[in-house]
Amino acid sequence: MTISGQFYELVEDVCKNLYIKALKDLPPDVRAALQTAYEQETNKTAKQIMSVIMENINVADKKSRLICQDTGTPIYFVKIGSEICLNVPRLEQAIISGTKKATTEHPFRSSIVSSIQRKNNQDSTGYRVPIIHFEFMQNSKDLEILMVPKGSGSENMSFLKMLIPADGLNGVKKYILESIVEIGANPCPPFIVGIGMGGTSDLCVTLAKKAATTRPIGSKNPDPEIARIEEELLKSINLMGIGPMGLGGSTTALAVHIEEAATHITQNAVAINIQCWAARRARAKIDSNQNVEYGY
């Protein structure tokens, strides 16, 4: 089907709404995981910190406030159905406009600056930002948009290591665990650990980002062997005692998510991307009749 000009205005509105919704309304899976962490902590400081986190989520709900002051780097994961005839450059422009509108009309802090001059356009955009990933769905008439405002306390704790095949899976696990000890308090624990394995250096890092930011807590990698490694690493990380905000306690990570890709015979890449406890994301599905359904 062909799409009218109105559709792009709708996308712009949806992207504006998604950015604001993501900043205010934490997904139910994240809330549940934090509640469990609060209940399980016995260390007094850790319990105190978790109670502030729970109170923060309530205040954000009641007063329609931002969960965290870091409005993040705006990232959109867009899936386009095969049966919808879209003008993708126009779609891209609609996403960028929605991002600007959210920032200036709400308003909230623009966290984006140019890389060398450090100039802030005050609208959360800049050269190549927002970051937009396009994917495609077969036999679908829908457009799906997942918005992630990626906080930088956690983003600054990102790693890539081009291990070699002889390092094996054990080398990968060791690198991950050593990195977590190193980053400690910085990415606002309890956090989600996103792991990319395989691919090339760029794909590996992208997979780590997807693992950290797009998957609900409680989801497992469909490959049972990888799901087992996710669980094993989660248990291991939670034995380190880093705890909420790195001041000690039993919950350091809420989840470990792994995403992988085939790789070159000479490579054994691993990437780590951390998502803080304020694991914000918001999703919308727009169907061919321009009905919008919001979710997480």
Partner: protein, 196 residues
């Protein structure tokens, strides 16, 4: 563990009595500082346009709305302190800052400054901006507005806390204690996974 309710400005005596693990709740004025304004202060040697003597400074850049005669709060939260570690000696030695409020802690340069001049690091819950914004009564000023959002902010707070004393004026650092234990736990964790 002792709980304190303190009014800013803080004296050396106020902060010297604090030990790691204590909890502090603050009332009065606090200043918002971070990367860009600290770079101007110390790398470009421009003195701050506010009196920081005895102050508590929070690592932040808030979301605000410009209104008649100033700014209205939208979201005030705390950023990662480690990036600002090297500025603490100047803040405390040159300008008399007594407390840094931040998240994730700092290292040797700040620990040394806190020991030498009498200062503390008060840990706030990172990411809990909705909660923190509730404790901000008003924005009383913004200085160096050209650095927006990284201006120097003057906030009036009521009941900001409990904040956890994570670094005290005796060289103790709760983050480093926790990290040391995590490092020590690693060989056993790896052994369990069959990794040498």
């Amino acid at each position: 563990m002792t709980e304190y309710r303190l009014q800013t400005p803080l004296s050396e005596e106020d902060v010297r009595k604090l030990k790691i693990g204590d909890e502090v709740t603050l009332d009065g004025i606090i200043f918002g500082i971070r990367d860009a304004n600290l770079i101007r202060m110390f790398d470009k040697n421009v003195p701050p346009p506010v009196d920081l003597n005895g102050s508590a400074c929070i690592h932040t850049a808030p979301s605000v709305r410009k209104v008649e005669g100033g700014y209205e709060k939208i979201s005030v939260g705390t950023t990662t302190s480690m990036r600002m570690d090297r500025f603490t000696p100047g803040l405390m030695g040159q300008y008399g800052v007594r407390a840094i409020i931040g998240k994730a802690g700092m290292k040797e340069p700040s620990m040394e400054a806190m020991k030498k001049f009498g200062g503390v690091y008060l840990a706030i819950v990172g990411g809990a901006a909705a909660w923190e914004t509730d404790k901000i009564e008003s924005i009383e000023g913004a200085f160096w507005e050209d650095l927006m959002p990284e201006a120097i902010w003057k906030f009036r707070v009521k009941g900001l806390g409990p904040l956890i004393v994570a670094m005290d004026s005796y060289g103790n650092n709760l983050y480093l204690d926790v990290k040391k234990k995590a490092i020590e736990s690693l060989p056993k964790i790896l052994e369990k996974l069959g990794i040498s």
